[in-house]
């Protein structure tokens, strides 16, 4: 079973962000929502994850679908260290290995307020990648990172997707190409698929 959207509409304060969007997402592979800011990418993402409800239409998320998300904000728990934040998504994950992968081998004992913005985003990315899930949602995963680090993070994402569906949100088409994504261009028409 795939995640499907059927004639989904969503407006905020009278501004129509999504209008009659229908879409069927594959079970695995990579999809990229590409387009300028404010065109409804994150709104669609929230509907797909079940964090928001459409004004009309239907979003069908198969029962038991597990999501991993890396949001635009790091959303780390400020009262836990980087290590503890990672362990929250699974007791059995190799925390140090994931910190090494996101180039933060020494950051395990640090709290989010002791990390820079870019470091926090990498911990958040590691948390999303480490979580055992069916759908991996990455909303601008390399924002605020320098070019070399961003490149390495994209390689890590490509290696870590595995058998999951990757939904990538970005302004940068080259990121979608590097991850082999099928690109869905925003703003959407009625039928996105």
């Amino acid at each position: 079973m795939c995640i499907t959207l059927d004639k989904v509409s969503r407006a905020f304060d009278g501004r129509q962000v999504l209008q009659n969007v229908s879409m069927e997402l594959p079970k695995r592979g990579a999809v990229c929502f590409f387009g300028p800011s404010g065109c409804g990418k994150t709104t669609l993402l929230r509907l797909i994850c079940g964090l928001d409800k459409p004004d009309s239409g239907k979003v069908n998320i198969p029962q038991g679908t597990r999501f991993s998300c890396h949001f635009q904000e790091d959303r780390l728990l400020p009262w836990y260290t980087a290590e503890e934040n990672l362990r929250l998504v699974g007791e059995d994950i190799d925390v140090q290995a994931w910190l090494d992968k996101v180039l933060l081998p020494e950051a395990g004992k640090l709290y989010p307020n002791e990390l820079s913005g870019g470091m926090r985003r990498r911990v958040s990315l590691a948390r999303a990648l480490a979580h055992d899930s069916d759908v991996l949602v990455l909303d601008e995963p390399v924002r605020e990172l320098d070019e070399a680090t961003a490149e390495k993070m994209l390689e890590l994402i490509a290696r870590s997707v595995g058998d999951r569906l990757l939904i990538l949100v970005t302004h940068d088409r080259t990121q979608a190409e590097k991850l082999g994504c099928r690109v869905v261009e925003f703003p959407l028409g009625g039928e996105a698929q």
Binding site: F67, E73, L77, Y80, T81
Partner: protein, 251 residues
């Protein structure tokens, strides 16, 4: 060394100043029945060697502790329930606002009709604690970061896990602030209820007796005991809470 002496003198100065004001007032009034001298009050402190003194202090502290803990538990349970049910919140919140605004003496006098005089101080303490802790915990729960709650939902955390990892650490600072703010109030309300209810073995009862027998030196001595105990309780609890908070909240 010189600096140390200077600091000690500076600390002692306000105490000496107010003792002198007290002594001057005593001289001006000139009647032991109306105002005892600092020396007369100091002499009264021989009662610390008596077992009855410690029984009174112990029982008053026990009543305060019981009222405080009961109040905190009731407030937290109510706050969580009111967060879960809007209807319950609409019923409970205004009622607690009324409790907060009502003079505690009104409750004490009313409660004396239903409860034994030993239990009324506990009720008085509870009524001081519940509205304050409830308001802070309720506010703390409502202010939990929605983005963190969304993240918890997406990672499939159970309700208990979400509370343990996200909500409770968020609420903790406001909860601790409320607990610190109302411990002194709870102690004083308990003593006030003891003065009205006159239970056996209570500081409040000793204050009442001192008033009845016109022993102003005993009245002031017991008042000093209340002040010192209140300060000690507040400091101990503050230190304990801060240590606990530091452990949970590094940020």
């Amino acid at each position: 060394m010189k600096a140390k002496v200077k600091r000690a003198l500076r600390k002692a100065f306000p105490v000496v100043f107010w003792l002198l004001v007290w002594a001057a007032c005593y001289r001006a009034v000139g009647q032991d029945l109306l105002l005892a001298s600092p020396l007369q009050v100091a002499r009264r402190f021989t009662f610390v060697a008596e077992a009855s003194f410690w029984r009174c202090v112990g029982m008053s502290l026990w009543r305060t502790a019981a009222a405080y803990m009961l109040g905190v538990v009731i407030a937290c349970v109510l706050a969580v329930c009111c967060h879960a049910s809007k209807l319950l919140d609409e019923v409970i919140s205004p009622a607690l606002l009324v409790v907060r605004a009502t003079p505690v003496a009104s409750f004490i006098i009313l409660a004396l009709v239903w409860l034994s005089s030993a239990n009324v101080p506990i009720l008085a303490g509870v009524l001081m604690v519940v509205p304050v802790v409830f308001a802070n915990v309720r506010e703390g729960i409502a202010s939990t970061d929605k983005q963190l709650l969304e993240m918890a939902k997406l990672f499939g955390w159970s309700r208990w896990k979400t509370w343990r990892r996200v909500v409770i650490p968020t609420v903790l600072p406001t909860f601790v602030a409320a607990c610190q703010a109302c411990v002194g109030l709870c102690f004083k309300a308990t003593i006030a209820a003891e003065v009205i209810g006159v239970p056996k073995n209570a500081i409040g009862t000793q204050l009442y007796n001192a008033k009845i027998y016109l022993e102003s030196d005993a009245l002031l001595a017991w008042t000093l005991v209340v002040i010192v105990l209140s300060m000690v309780i507040e400091r101990l609890l503050k230190a304990a809470f801060e240590r606990g908070l530091r452990r949970v909240h590094h940020a």
